[in-house]
């Protein structure tokens, strides 16, 4: 791993960067942010395999498993190459891990998984989950996910994550033992609920709004890009017809035959070149998709903050009302309309003993309420602090990564143009020999 400086220049200057190279640049970047986990361990999702088995309802199913390989960092640099530790995981286990992280660290922007089903596909790509190209892209996405978590300052030290990487058996049980499921359900409920916060935190409101915009614009970009890719495919492939017609035509010509025939071959090459071009572009689409899903994670954090804020406000509101009731009871004035007040008016005042009992109850409640408010306040503060740190980290990461993505897009376009220049120059030479 070279030092950052020269790597920058290499990234921009070298327009022949392939997708795998630019992917490596991203990985190197993640490694260099240097969490303690990544300092001692190399992580990769090396392979994918199809398996068949019985599912929960005892029905036959086919699924894909992914091989997670880990190896100690120093071993590689020492020159020895020990066999890496490895275990197989399926997509649902990755989902379980992520859900656990979401629930456990609601104030963090948790890295997203690659999409469950292929979306924004242009017609040539298969939307089939079993399609080898899709599986391969998913393998890459899963590796990316693991590296993102491993390079996160907080998430990388999570024990469940560590055992996900290292313990094949019993990991699922360990996760469920944490009891996160209960929290998961309530979290889901909360996220979907509608409630209004009295004093929204502007920063978080803006962030949520940004998340909405990011999601909307990336979706639009992915849609437009997929349609354009479809059309571009058509343009290139139709040129293949030139190949066939020129070949047939050359058979009836004497002097023009050779030139036509060889030009036809170049037209075939041109038509065939679009497959590679669009495969590379798919890689760019995947980078955009990651941030599409990241936008969702960002919004979730903001929603969670809103919820926390709301719960605080509710607790504070409740405390205020209880304090008010105590005051009324103590002074006998009814300032607020309450059923108790009405009934006491209608049916007469209560006995001093009854009032005493009520006052005591209220006092306890107020005490508890104040505790709750203090708790919730602390929770909110803690949340805001941690969340904002992570949001800043996320923003920097996003700016960096997306800029890289745009650069790699430009590099891809340049490569496509170079191929086009070559093919048409060759064709021109053949035509001039007609």
């Amino acid at each position: 791993m070279a030092d950052s400086g020269s790597e920058d220049i290499a990234v921009i200057g070298n327009t022949d960067l392939t997708p795998s190279e630019s992917e490596n640049n991203l990985k190197n970047t993640m490694v260099e942010t240097g969490t303690s986990l990544l300092k001692k361990m190399e992580i990769s999702v090396a392979e994918a395999e199809k398996r068949t088995g019985k599912n929960a309802v005892n029905m036959q199913e086919t699924y894909t498993v992914y091989l997670i390989e880990t190896r100690p960092v120093d071993a590689a640099s020492e020159g020895t190459n020990p066999v890496p530790d490895s275990l197989w995981r399926r997509y649902s286990e990755f989902e379980l891990l992520r859900n656990y992280l979401l629930v456990t660290y609601p104030f963090l922007v948790v890295p997203p998984l690659p999409e469950k089903r292929a979306e924004f596909v242009w017609h040539k790509l298969s939307a089939d989950n079993m399609d080898p190209d899709f599986v391969e892209r998913r393998r890459v996405g899963l590796e990316n996910f693991l590296l993102r978590v491993a390079s996160h300052p907080v998430l990388s030290s999570d024990k469940i994550f560590y055992s996900f990487l290292t313990e094949e058996n019993g990991w699922k049980e360990t996760v469920f033992e944490t009891g996160f499921q209960a929290k998961a359900d309530s979290r889901l409920k909360a996220l979907n609920a509608t409630f209004r916060v009295k004093n929204p935190d502007k920063r978080f409101a803006d962030m949520k709004h940004y998340g909405d915009e990011l999601q909307s614009v990336i979706s639009q970009l992915l849609r437009v890009r997929a349609r354009a890719a479809d059309r571009l495919y058509g343009v290139y492939k139709v040129h293949g017809n030139y190949g066939r017609v020129f070949s047939e035509w050359s058979a009836i010509e004497k002097e023009m035959g050779d030139g036509l025939q060889s030009a036809g071959h170049h037209m075939d090459a041109y038509a065939a070149s679009v497959d590679d071009i669009l495969e590379e572009e798919e890689h760019y689409a995947d980078q955009l998709k990651e941030y599409l899903f990241y936008a969702d994670a960002l919004r979730a954090v903001c929603r969670k903050h809103e919820l926390t804020q709301y719960e605080l406000e509710m607790a504070a509101l409740d405390l205020t009302s209880k304090k008010q009731q105590r005051e009324e009871l103590a002074t006998g004035t009814i300032r607020t309309f309450s059923l108790k007040g009405m009934t006491s008016k209608l049916f007469g005042q209560e006995t001093p003993e009854q009032r005493e009992a009520k006052l005591n109850m209220l006092e306890t409640q107020i005490e508890e309420g104040e505790e709750l408010v203090k708790e919730r306040n602390a929770e909110c503060d803690e949340f805001v602090k941690s969340a904002w740190v992570d949001i800043e980290r996320f923003k920097e990461q996003k700016d960096h990564d997306l800029r890289e993505a745009l650069i790699s897009y430009a590099i891809m376009q340049i490569s496509m143009c170079k191929k086009g220049i070559q093919v048409w120059n060759n064709a021109k030479e053949c035509f001039s020999k007609m």
Binding site: I9, Q220, V235, W249, A410, I411
Partner: protein, 407 residues
């Protein structure tokens, strides 16, 4: 060569005796010297008139009789052609001379080792024309001149016939000796085909043309269709691409650090859109019209061939009519002659214009395709420049900001 002239020379003696002076100039429009050159070379050839069927006719035995000064090794000669035995044919329509053409060969492409056919001057003319067409820059030995004044009794003068026969004999032998001409399919058919076959083979030339025009018409229509399809697809691609730039621009409005880069990408995509638009326009304005014209050309060619066929049909009909009619023969013969002239003229005109057309077509299409290829190269070069300048802007941004953006 003049030293070795043998009494077989036909030039000076015979011609002046038998033919009135004013015509002799027309028939043998050559210098005395050229005359001698032409004929003296062939003195070693066996005189056709002394060649008759009773002589030993095996190819091997002929080797001694044919001695050539040429480099050609006598033992490798595997084809021997003679022209002799002129005969007069009188039909209801016309009178003409045919000559016997005997071929003896060991070549494998010939079905048999001996052939005997009768040919008239017209047929020799046809053969010469075919060879010249097939090989425009090779040298075909000349034929004796066509006697322009038809119907004159002098055509059937013995000496004239003999002169002609010898010339035809020399002509065929030159063809047989020629490394390329001797393997010509037309030559083979000339030597071997029965008259009916030859006639239909002659027509075949126009059949071939017809087949070519048919095929060309199909191919050029296909090219035209493919090109139009490309234009359509490009236009649809352009429509989608036009939405990309604005989307990047929209995105840049939500961003801070990224805004500049996104705006640059938007601008770059928009510029590529413009280039794509230009490229489509060029295809539409330059390549498509040319292709379309040649599609129409193919139709024209078909019509031309049809009209030629009609002229031929007219001639054939008149020929038949004359054969059956008893009265008005002179007028019909006149008509027939005119029809024959028209046909000959039509065929010749077509053949030369065909060659001209093919040259023009080749030039037009070649330059249209070269032009298109150049335009496409230029399109990609321009887009390349757009994206390279984007990369440069990113590099200067990174360095300019001082931030190590890529850590």
């Amino acid at each position: 060569m003049s030293g070795s002239v043998v009494d077989n020379t036909v030039s000076s003696g015979n011609s002046s005796a038998a033919i009135p002076t004013d015509i002799s100039g027309q028939i043998l429009d050559l210098d005395e010297d050229d005359d001698l050159e032409v004929f003296s070379k062939d003195t070693n050839l066996t005189d056709g008139s002394s060649f008759n069927a009773s002589m030993q006719t095996s190819p091997a035995s002929m080797i001694n009789q044919y001695k050539f000064e040429e480099e050609e090794d006598a033992e490798t000669k595997d084809i021997f052609v003679t022209v002799d035995n002129p005969e007069s044919h009188v039909t209801a329509i016309e009178t003409y001379i045919t000559y016997r053409v005997v071929t003896k060969t060991t070549r494998s492409e010939f079905d048999s080792s001996e052939f005997e056919v009768r040919r008239r001057y017209q047929d020799f003319l046809w053969l010469k024309g075919r060879l010249e067409e097939a090989h425009p820059t090779l040298i075909v030995h000349p034929l004796p001149e066509k006697f322009v004044m038809k119907g004159m009794v002098e055509r059937f003068n013995e000496d004239f016939i003999e002169t002609r026969r010898r010339a035809l004999h020399r002509f065929l032998n030159k063809i047989a000796e020629h490394p390329i001409f001797s393997s010509s399919e037309d030559f083979k058919i000339f030597l071997t085909a029965a008259s009916g076959e030859l006639t239909s083979h002659k027509k075949q030339e126009f059949t071939e043309m017809q087949e070519y025009v048919e095929a060309f018409s199909q191919k050029i229509s296909s090219v035209d269709k493919v090109t139009q399809r490309i234009v359509r697809e490009q236009k649809e691609y352009l429509e989608e691409l036009k939405e990309c730039g604005p989307t990047y621009a929209l995105w840049s409005q939500s961003e801070e650090e990224l805004a500049e880069s996104l705006k640059n990408v938007a601008g770059s995509v928009d510029r590529c859109c413009k280039e794509t638009e230009e490229q489509v326009k060029h295809l539409n304005d330059h390549l498509i019209p040319v292709l379309h014209e040649y599609v129409l050309c193919a139709d024209t060619l078909k019509a031309v061939l049809r009209r030629r066929d009609n002229i031929q049909a007219d001639f054939e009909a008149k020929t038949e009519a004359l054969a059956t009619k008893k009265t008005d023969r002179d007028m019909m013969r006149d008509d027939l002659d005119k029809a024959e002239d028209r046909l000959e003229w039509a065929n010749n005109a077509l053949k030369s214009d065909w060659t001209r057309w093919q040259k023009v077509m080749r030039t037009d299409l070649r330059s249209a395709f070269v032009d298109t290829a150049e335009r496409n190269v230029s399109y990609y070069e321009k887009c390349l420049a757009v994206w390279e300048s984007f990369l440069n802007s990113q590099r200067t941004d990174a360095e300019g900001n001082g931030k190590v953006d890529f850590s």
